[in-house]
Amino acid sequence: MKNVTIDVQHVTRVEGHGNILVKVESGEISRVELQIVESPRFFEAFLRGRRWYEAPHITCRICGICSVGHTCASVQAIEAATSIEISEQSTMLRKLLLNGEELQSHVLHVYFLAVPDFLGVGSVIPLASTHPDVVKRALRMKKLANDICAIVGGRHIHPIAVHPGGLTHVPRAEELLALKRRLKEARADLQETANTYRTLKIPDFTRETEFVSLKTVGNGEYAFYDGQIVSTLDRNPTNVSEYRERVIETVVEHSAAKHCRSAKSPSYMVGALARFNNNYDQLHPSAKDAAGALGLKPVCHNPFHNNTAQIVESVHVVENSIELIDTLLTRRLTEEPLVEPTRFGKGVGSTDVPRGILFHEYELDENGIIVGSNLIIPTGQNLANIEADMRAMMPGLLDSGMSKEEITLRLEMLVRAYDPCISCATHFLDIEWV
């Protein structure tokens, strides 16, 4: 194939609006772009003038899939900007809430968005009649994940109870006990998920890249809610307040979302595979077993295995949630007042959300009014890496004898493997005030 143009308008089964454009002229690849065409929403602009405590409730509305993740990064940034230190109970409840979203998002992605490609169908809908047990299993796990979020935060999409200073609601012990029972039952569903997944043929493609994620240096916990920044090429941890040392944003012509590079690499990957590669040692033993059964070892450079890492993390999240509930119940849940701010200034918060490391930064004036903000989104960080993968994959695909339709599907599968969240990604900002 000497001349090929692949132009997929509005890639389906991803969150938000994106196009794939690949141009091959006289056998040379001239253009490879993942175009981001989502409507801009101007969150950073309209946060200006709003009150400090509103930031988590406003920014969770950036994205319906990632709203708990945005809430966690935002509330930590506001707490850093107001010198609030929350209680251990509040931290544990937020971690449990975030576990719910990690599980919900991973199950949604693996079963609803990615798996249909492997089974040769356009959506999960036909699977409801051909593979009813698989679909029912997916729905059962998704519902459990949503119920974790609902019991701790009020609901999954746009949680209610997380407020700077703590939480405005404490779950009842019997609610957590019921969740624990269902989490234990979910072990069998996850085992079946791994069994099903093992039968799928994951495309064989590797390209060496850098993997960036949070890491908990202190207590050794696999990092989601907070931590320090590490990567496969630079394992010295960086405090999240110094994130600009690790994340360098650039504007590109074809994207409503900024691209990112690191000090070490022109592109890097964030998300489940990045966390797996950096923090494998901190996984729960059951999650390590799942990784072993699925043949996933760190450092894995095949981006299609992001889906595999999502399953491994799902196992971890279920086990970690059981442990969190045990600790919360042993300590006994108590109603706690919200911790009040002692100053208004600047602050950064970071959470490793389902799609990868997320940064929120705010500046408050002396009255606690937001005057500036910067949000760096996982998908924005992955865009340059996705394009680099597409570019590296194309020669092999062109030589393989695959039809244009097959090549297009393979490129779409690559984009979906990253689980991009384009609504989230269109909130970049050139910032002057720091």
């Binding site: 969150e15 409507s39 319906g64 939480l167 909130h427």
Partner: protein, 247 residues
């Protein structure tokens, strides 16, 4: 023939579309009763012969204008789902700022590449048959709506304020704790979920009726020591009320 359903997104977080997928207990029953023919987030196939079109998101770009007119033409019944589609939602917060300023603030010297118009609800551009408000929409209300419409009955939104639901739930009034809450003016139907999780009502389902707003204005001025600018800021959050003063 099963009714042909489409789910579209304009400027939004797509959370209301996702909320449909969070009806796990009855999702397979819904899929048995209707045919989903267009849902970019969840499927590859797309058809434009549509009985009921659900739209989340506000009209906030020139592209949104074109799309909503197209969705309207293709859908026999058009339903706005969620605060962005029913009231403009959070997107309307940009309307209070100077356009060139907010564009430049976010996109710097690339601002010209991102056309935008003041955010407005779907009803500002096309005829909308039904509204399911909330941020996100209340998924149980969506389910009830689908049942009512599929059985040929008429759908009505609740005409009570959120306070009625707090009383029914036995939730202590947040005003008793010194917290200013929009429950007295906001349309019920969410089962007062925010107050029941200890947070004030933020008005995401819109103002229930003008009388409630007038009464609240009088109460807040005469009985409570609150800054009315704070009340207006709260009312603006989801586009519920966008005037400069309370009635």
């Amino acid at each position: 023939m099963k009714p042909r359903i489409a789910i579209f997104s304009l400027t939004s977080c797509e959370g209301c579309s996702l909320a449909i997928l969070e009806l796990e207990d009855c999702l397979l029953d819904i899929l048995g009763a209707v045919e989903i023919v267009n849902f970019r987030e969840g499927m590859t196939e797309r058809s434009w012969d549509i009985d009921i079109g659900f739209v989340d998101g506000a009209v906030s770009t020139p592209e949104d204008m074109k799309e909503i007119e197209h969705f309207r033409e293709c859908s026999k019944v058009l339903v706005a789902i969620g605060a962005c589609a029913t009231h403009g939602g959070l997107n309307t917060l940009k309307n209070y700022q100077d356009e060139s300023d907010y564009r430049k603030y976010v996109y710097g010297d690339q601002a010209a590449r991102f056309p935008t118009i003041p955010a407005q609800p779907l009803s500002g551009v096309v005829d909308v048959d039904y509204q399911l408000p909330g941020c996100p929409m209340v998924k149980e209300e969506f389910l009830e709506f689908v049942k009512v419409v599929l059985t040929g009955r008429t759908w009505h939104l609740p005409e009570d304020p959120v306070c009625v639901e707090c009383k029914r739930n036995g939730t202590l009034c947040l005003y008793e704790k010194g917290i200013m809450c929009l429950g007295p003016v906001t349309r019920a139907g969410c089962n007062a979920i925010c107050p029941s999780y200890g947070a004030k009502c933020e008005g995401c389902r819109g103002v229930v009726h003008d009388e409630a707003l007038k009464a609240a204005g009088i109460n807040l001025r005469e009985q409570y020591d609150v800054d009315l600018q704070d009340v207006l800021a709260d009312l603006r959050m989801f586009g519920a009320y966008q005037e400069k003063t309370l009635p």
